[in-house]
């Protein structure tokens, strides 16, 4: 395969040489790096396409002169040096690999939790009695919705989004998207688009209809860390939502005129990556069309900016910008993964109403793109039941959150709420909701078949046969998807029929991965030819580091995150350790240690490999001194005295999500009653009920300024006091935005 491979190689290689601003890491040499032609796939194995093939080793001949001898020696030396160094790279790759495992496992565990919250939300909807204290934020429109609706999961925080969330799911569009009066939590009535732009506002100005100059100004302003005025934001969001809504569920661009198209994967609030892409590849235009494959927001700190730039480009040039919905274009995801926090920090009192508008954008986003009728671009992937025709006809507007299926689909005839697992099982295979969920949440797997994606908790795993079958069924040649971070920014699977593209560089940590985008060259009459460009929006510091230093840096960060996770589960872990140590010697076998960690943390990781980094061995017996697992922990390992605060702290991310749900008007405050409710619900969620008395004391002690309500900072501050060493864990580091 040497010959065939090197033909392909040269293209990819040229590319990465000219475009790559970063160094290669160990993994690169193990992965395919080729630009290649889909129509050739039959001839080539999906095998390591290394910088060389067999053909290139020059065997030396029997008799030779002195010069030839010298040559042979240097050749042999080269081979030896190369394979030796490659072995070294493999070692680095192993470290990088388990580091990756840690990040990904923790990331997906979070998503799993989020999916589990669906059941929790439904319980909330059905069982939570309507109490006067609860619907502080639902004055507007609360009357016209049932109690069920008024407590629905509404990040938008005002009742119009609540009504949209559940009411409209039945009527299919009762609440029209329009310029309407919205109510702030305090009852004041202002139209966002009527807010005056103060004279001292120094940010960019936008005047619709969108112009190229507007976009330039916007990008320049964002580069200087300016925040766009809420009036302009509201305008862009409203018009964009209306225009997106008019589009079909799948964009169907043709490249017959442009002769090329660019596809970008997840951006996740990393504005630098988007700007690098525009710098390298030019702004979108009808001649330079782009597909953005979802996940614009969350995680990164500049999600608002990314969303606004992309929507502005779409407004300027709807024939050159195709925006797909990703699994993070979903307010339930935004609660946990930071976008809501970002909007709140940047837009304060206006955030609730902006989030409502953003929800409108989300539900209006098309679900995928089909290029020239032969390349399917969706965020997650497919499943064996995927039927694009069926999806073409659904009303995507009703999926305000993909995590929360329309109410009608979740109720039995007797009104019982169907648990997610059941809803997702085979009996509901035909359901519209599953069709949509699969497009946005699935991952490809090695091997064949199709199974529920238990790792993420939503969507499917699809094997090579599923890709083959679904592509064939729809007359397609290639599936391009995103959704998973890849070390090289892209990766082929399934005999080159399934391509992952991920555009957020340094996603887990500086140095963890490159970003990439793919260009499909040639018009519809030519063979599909992907051409990859990798990039790295990292600091110069990172570029001058060697593989070892980079791997070390990322590894340290992964282990830190893992230790935090372990500490959150300390009680369960200690108990598990003690079970394995009946004689209380403080020592257990490595295997028992591994099992205990896997069971208590719910993380599937190569624990045996990680053990040396996490716990010490007793040199005499070779057993694990298990107490060293919690090295940074100072508190007693007995679980008898677990205070409520500790329980809460250990579930901080769930708690913060719940805080945002209960805080319906997004005012950043919750009332005492609301807090009590939250504790009850949390208790149910954790299956550790919190006593009433403690709950009230907690609430009172948390309300530091004694104004009868708790804000998130008071909330977090309490935890800080309880567990001072975690002070820095609080990721509310947006101070620089408040200038």
């Amino acid at each position: 395969m040497g010959g065939g491979a090197s033909v392909h190689k040269s293209k990819g290689q040229d590319d990465s040489d000219s475009c790559n601003t970063s160094q290669r890491d160990g993994s690169s040499s193990q992965k395919q790096k080729s630009g290649f032609r889909i129509h050739r796939k039959k001839k080539q194995k999906e095998a390591p396409r290394q910088s060389t093939g067999t053909g290139q080793i020059r065997p030396h001949q029997g008799s030779m002169g002195k010069a030839e001898r010298g040559k042979t020696i240097s050749l042999k030396a080269a081979i030896l040096i190369q394979r030796w160094y490659r072995q070294y790279l493999a070692r680095m790759e192993i470290r990088r690999r388990y580091t990756w495992n840690i990040f990904q496992t923790i990331e997906y565990a979070g998503e799993q939790d989020q999916m589990k919250l669906y059941n929790f939300f439904n319980a909330l909807l059905t069982h939570m009695p309507q109490k006067p204290g609860i619907d502080i934020g639902s004055k507007d429109g609360a009357n016209e919705t049932s109690s069920l609706d008024s407590v629905s999961v509404s990040s938008g925080g005002d009742a119009s989004s609540t009504a949209a969330a559940s009411g409209e799911q039945r009527t299919g569009g009762r609440v029209k998207l329009r310029k309407r009066k919205l109510f702030a939590g305090n009852g004041a009535c202002i139209d966002l688009e009527d807010v005056t732009v103060e004279n001292d506002y120094k940010g960019p100005h936008v005047k619709l209809p969108m112009t190229l100059q507007n976009i330039q100004e916007l990008i320049d302003g964002f580069k200087k860390k300016k925040i766009l005025h809420v009036k302009y934001v509201a305008q862009i969001l409203r018009v964009a939502a209306a225009n997106l809504k008019a589009l079909p569920n799948f964009h169907q661009p043709s490249t017959s005129l442009s002769k090329q198209i660019t596809i970008c994967g997840d951006l996740h609030g990393k504005l630098d990556d988007l700007l690098v892409i525009f710098y390298k590849n030019g702004l979108p235009s009808p001649e330079n069309p782009y597909v953005f494959n979802g996940d614009y927001v969350d995680r990164g700190k500049r999600s608002v900016e990314i969303l606004l730039v992309l929507l502005s480009c779409f407004l300027l040039c709807p024939d050159g910008v195709f925006l797909n919905r990703g699994n993070h274009e979903d307010h339930i995801m935004n609660m946990r993964y930071g976008f809501i926090r970002e909007v709140r920090l940047k837009y304060k009192v206006f955030s609730g109403r902006l989030l409502t508008l953003i929800d409108q954008v989300y539900r209006s986003l098309p679900l995928g793109t089909i290029i020239d009728g032969r390349v399917l671009v969706v965020h997650g992937g497919i499943s064996e039941t995927t039927d694009l025709k069926l999806i073409t006809d659904i009303d995507r507007q009703k999926y305000v959150s993909i995590l929360r299926p329309p109410v009608l689909e979740t109720m039995n005839s007797d009104g019982r709420v169907i648990p997610l697992s059941e809803l997702y099982s085979s009996s509901h295979n035909g359901s519209e909701w599953k069709q949509v969920l699969d497009l946005l949440w699935s991952d490809p797997q090695n091997g064949t078949g199709c199974s529920p994606n238990t790792f993420r908790g939503g969507g499917s795993y699809f094997g090579s046969d599923v890709t083959e079958k679904v592509l064939k069924k729809h007359g397609l040649q290639l599936l391009i998807r995103s959704h998973e971070c890849k070390p090289d920014g892209y990766e082929f699977m399934h005999s080159n029929k399934c391509l992952t593209v991920f555009s957020a560089s340094n996603y887990y940590e500086e140095g963890s991965n490159k970003g990439a985008y793919v260009r499909l060259l040639g018009g519809p009459s030519e063979a599909v030819e992907p051409y990859f460009v990798q990039f790295n929006a990292a600091t110069p510091k990172l570029r001058s580091m060697t593989i070892r230093q980079r791997v070390g840096l990322v590894e340290a960060s992964a282990l830190r995150e893992l230790r935090t996770r372990i500490r959150e589960r300390q009680d369960a872990l200690t108990q598990a350790f003690n079970n394995y140590d009946p004689d209380s010697k403080g020592l257990i076998s490595v295997s028992d240690w591994c099992v205990a960690l896997e069971e208590s943390t719910d993380l599937k990781l190569p624990w045996r490999l990680l053990r040396p980094k996490l716990a010490e061995l007793d040199s005499a017996t070779g057993l694990v001194k298990f107490a060293t697992t919690f090295q940074e922990e100072t508190q007693s390992d007995s679980e008898v005295d677990v205070t409520v605060a500790e329980v809460l702290y250990r579930n901080k991310s769930s708690l913060e999500t719940i805080f945002r749900i209960i805080d319906k008007d997004n005012s950043g405050y919750i009332s005492m009653d609301e807090f009590a409710e939250a504790c009850d619900l949390l208790g149910k969620h954790l299956s550790t009920p919190i006593p009433q008395q403690q709950k009230l004391e907690m609430a009172k002690s948390m309300d530091m300024n004694k104004d009868g309500k708790i804000d998130l900072n008071e909330f977090m501050e309490t935890f800080r006091i309880v567990n001072a060493e975690h002070e820095q864990d609080d990721s509310l580091d947006y101070e620089e935005l408040d200038d």
Partner: protein, 218 residues
């Protein structure tokens, strides 16, 4: 013929220094012992559970030990927990098991272990079977000792000063054998180069890599 060539061009052993040579060998022996110890400990319930019925470990304790080590490595790379791994990982896995194949040899291994029905994946059983056989046999894809590596660098070092010009090495490894890309070569040279004089002091470099490779993974 091959070996004859090597011997012909070998520098006298004295040039490398007896003392150092002794050191390398000592280092390696200790390492192997250590490896063996950890592997013993790997007889774990979680591994057995992972492997399940897919593979029956040999009754011979020595062979079973090697098989378990190979299976453990496989498990690390099996992200979908389906006892399948992408063929593109084979190189890394094999190299991490203290084998040192060339790229062509990696292809050869893949030829042995890749599933014939589902291309692009390797099953646990075929991998463990083949690789543990190769390790047991002990002749293929052998890892080089420090001594051997030093000898090769010595040959490249025409002036016998213990240093090599990075540019020279770079040109060579990008041209001959299984060429590195410029990126790879850059990375390697940056890693190997002395920060102060910009030259590769190859003994130092060889030591660093030997040390890195001697850290037991499993």
């Amino acid at each position: 013929m091959d070996r004859g060539m090597e011997r012909g061009m070998e520098p006298p052993q004295d040039d490398l220094g007896d003392e150092e040579e002794g050191d390398f060998e000592g280092g390696e022996e200790v390492e192997e012992e250590d490896n063996y110890h950890t592997v013993k400990a790997a007889n774990a319930a979680d591994l057995l559970e992972y492997v399940g019925n897919a593979y029956t470990f040999s009754p011979d304790p020595f062979q079973a030990d090697i098989e378990r080590r190979v299976a453990l490595m496989f498990q690390i790379f099996d992200t979908s927990h389906q006892r399948l791994v992408d063929v593109r990982e084979v190189g890394t896995m094999v190299r991490s098991l203290d084998l040192c194949p060339t790229e062509a040899e990696v292809q050869e291994i893949i030829g042995h272990v890749e599933e014939s029905t589902t291309k692009g994946v390797v099953k646990l059983e075929s991998f463990v079977k083949h690789i543990s056989f190769v390790i047991m046999e002990g002749t293929k894809y052998r890892q080089r000792t420090k001594e051997e590596m030093m000898r090769f660098f010595y040959k490249l070092d025409k002036e016998k000063k213990g240093v090599i010009d990075p540019a020279k090495i770079k040109a060579q490894i990008c041209k001959d054998g299984e060429p590195f890309t410029f990126e790879e070569a850059d990375e390697m040279v940056t890693f190997a180069m002395d920060k102060d004089d910009g030259l590769i002091h190859y003994e130092q470099y060889v030591d660093t890599i030997v040390a890195a490779l001697s850290i037991s993974i499993l």
